[in-house]
């Protein structure tokens, strides 16, 4: 295998199960990301998506396996990896502008005050918040806060952007608006993005590939679904493409019927699927009982 931008190899996470034994949340997770890709990961609640993302961010440690980015092993957090947290994690005592200035100063300590400010304002403008420069997070709506948080992450121009359900706490209308914004920013910057979501439509709108994770414990990244839709995309027109339906049906089928039993390739890498080319689901391995139908239904409705 040729060297990819990011390589994740044999990652697993084990917690004590509280009864003296071990609980393996996920195991032997392996995948690779190429520079400039937008990849979403979908899976049922508790399968370990956030844990994987935190390991990539360097905020959490895997029990085994390693993460290599640009040929260097990831150990601990770093500015070359930006994170957008689900709960925004803005510093509440700073204005929206200063939250971004904080990050930009950390990224380029040698920049002049004016340059830092000008750069920060540019990114706030990009998310349409130039009118709210001097407001504190408590004076912003949830959607506005998440915009600031996204602007903060993009402003530091990390090589890899990690987003943990960035729109999970937003209402559907706001979510749509910010999704469009994210599409726009991404078309401009072509950042490499790894994002967790529960929303199938969101994943299709944004990603080049979608990783499907099987249910925990012992969860795996079982499949990698290609999203063969042309850029630039928009929420309004993406449904008109026939490939969209095929991809959507494939994802929903996975979440509802197959997430309990899905397995990756023999070598542990996700099975590559291209629903737009008519790929069907791989043959099921003897199934575990599926207890997650309820959450699956929610994911579909989202």
């Amino acid at each position: 295998m040729s060297k990819s931008f990011l390589e994740v190899d044999g990652l697993s996470k084990v917690y004590p199960d509280g009864q003296g034994g071990d609980l393996t949340v996920f195991e032997d997770v392996r995948f690779a990301l190429e520079k400039g890709e937008f990849v979403c990961i979908i899976g049922h609640s508790g399968c370990g998506k956030s844990t994987i993302l935190n390991v990539l961010a360097g905020l959490d440690e895997a029990s085994s396996g390693n993460v290599v980015m640009n040929g260097k092993e990831v150990k601990g957090p770093g500015l070359e990896r930006g994170v957008v947290f689900q709960n925004y994690s803005l510093l509440p005592w700073k204005t929206s502008l200063n939250n971004i200035v904080f990050a930009v100063k950390a990224r380029w300590p040698k920049w002049s005050k004016d340059k830092v400010r000008e750069h920060s304002e540019r990114y706030l403008k990009m998310v349409g918040l130039d009118h709210a420069l001097n407001r504190k997070p408590s004076q912003l709506s949830g959607g506005m806060r998440q915009r600031v948080s996204i602007a903060r992450a993009f402003a530091t121009q990390p090589e890899l952007l990690l987003l943990d359900e960035p729109f999970g706490a937003l209402d559907a209308l706001t979510r749509g608006v910010i999704q469009d914004e994210l599409v726009k920013i991404w078309e401009e910057t072509r950042q490499t993005v790894f994002m967790i979501t529960h929303d199938v439509d969101e994943a299709i709108l944004l990603s080049d590939r979608i990783f499907l994770m099987s249910n925990g414990p012992n969860a795996r990244i079982a499949e990698s679904v290609k999203v063969n839709l042309p850029h630039p995309r928009s929420r309004a027109t993406i449904f008109q493409n026939p490939a969209h339906h095929k991809i959507r049906d494939y994802l929903v089928d996975f979440l509802v019927n197959r997430s309990g039993s899905a397995q990756p390739e023999e070598d542990g890498s996700p099975i590559v699927i291209d629903p737009s080319a008519g790929d069907a689901a791989p043959k099921p391995v003897p199934a575990k009982p599926d207890t997650k139908t309820e959450t699956a239904a929610r994911a579909v409705n989202a």
Binding site: L59, L79, L91, A106
Partner: protein
């Protein structure tokens, strides 16, 4: 209908007038001077002093004292302003010294579970000790009454600051610490730019409690060590049986205590943030 504030102010003023009126009436000299009993003579309490002075007398004292608060006519005769200044000086010196130790130490304890576990037993034993209990030891070791009073202030104001700082620092939201980590801030920068502002409201709460306690304690401490200060002044006027001055200085203690608390309250407002 007048606003709530206006009505409250009116009510406050009426309470004041009512109280002063009752006080004035109940402390009128008896109409006919009765013969002083033999017992009263023996006790050395003559008619004038056996009564609590009426508010008018206290106001008279207040007027003379406040019109020249900083006069200095020898060791036992200084203006109320000078006495208060001595007390405030001692409180602030002891308080600032406590701050200089409590804040860094609190940070250390808050950031390190090891330090917390190691130091907590000492803190738990030392904290409930009445600050005045340290006085004899302080006098013996320091050999200076003024410094001993300052030490007592130091020891009583250190605990709320220390505990609140440690608590505030230990409970900074992990999300914010993670923001610092993902931006590769070094520990010192993290402490200054993230943990300090995040914990500042809790720290200020501790500082506000401390200044209140320090002001309570200084009066008692100065009664013990004597010489100068508002505590000494109260005790001295009591020995002079000048009750009007005693009441006046009690009021002044309240006013200065309130001002100190107000100042810390303002500072607290400055560092507060809404999540």
């Amino acid at each position: 209908m007048a606003s709530l504030n206006v009505r409250a102010a009116l009510l406050s003023v009426s309470f004041l007038i009512l109280m002063l009126g009752l006080w004035e009436l109940s402390t009128q000299p008896p109409a006919a001077q009765e013969a002083i009993t033999e017992y009263e003579l023996l006790m050395g309490v003559a008619g004038q002093e056996s009564r609590v002075p009426p508010p008018s007398a206290v106001m008279k004292v207040a007027w003379t004292e406040l019109s020249n608060p900083f006069y200095d006519a020898g060791a036992n005769d200084k203006g109320i302003g000078i006495q208060l200044a001595y007390s405030v000086y001692r409180v602030l010196t002891g308080y600032l010294a406590a701050m200089a130790i409590a804040l860094p130490l609190g940070f250390l304890i808050g950031m390190s579970p090891l330090m917390y576990k190691a130091l907590n037993p000492y803190i738990q034993v030392l904290r409930p000790i009445s600050p005045l209990a340290w006085m004899p030891l302080a006098l013996f070791i320091i050999q200076d009454s003024d410094a001993s009073a300052i030490f007592v202030i130091f020891i009583c104001s250190i605990w709320p600051m220390l505990l609140n700082t440690a608590f505030g620092v230990a409970n900074v939201r992990q999300d914010w610490v993670n923001v610092a980590r993902t931006h590769e801030l070094n520990p010192f920068k993290t402490a200054i730019t993230v943990i300090l502002p995040a914990a500042a409201p809790t720290i200020l709460t501790g500082m506000r409690i401390s200044i209140g306690i320090a002001w309570l304690v200084i009066v008692a401490a100065e009664m013990l060590v004597g010489g100068t200060g508002i505590g000494y002044y109260v005790w001295n006027e009591w020995n002079n049986l000048d009750l009007a001055s005693v009441i006046f200085s009690i009021l002044m203690i309240g006013v200065v205590g309130m001002l100190l608390d107000l100042a810390l309250g303002k500072a607290q407002k400055l560092v507060e943030y809404k999540e």
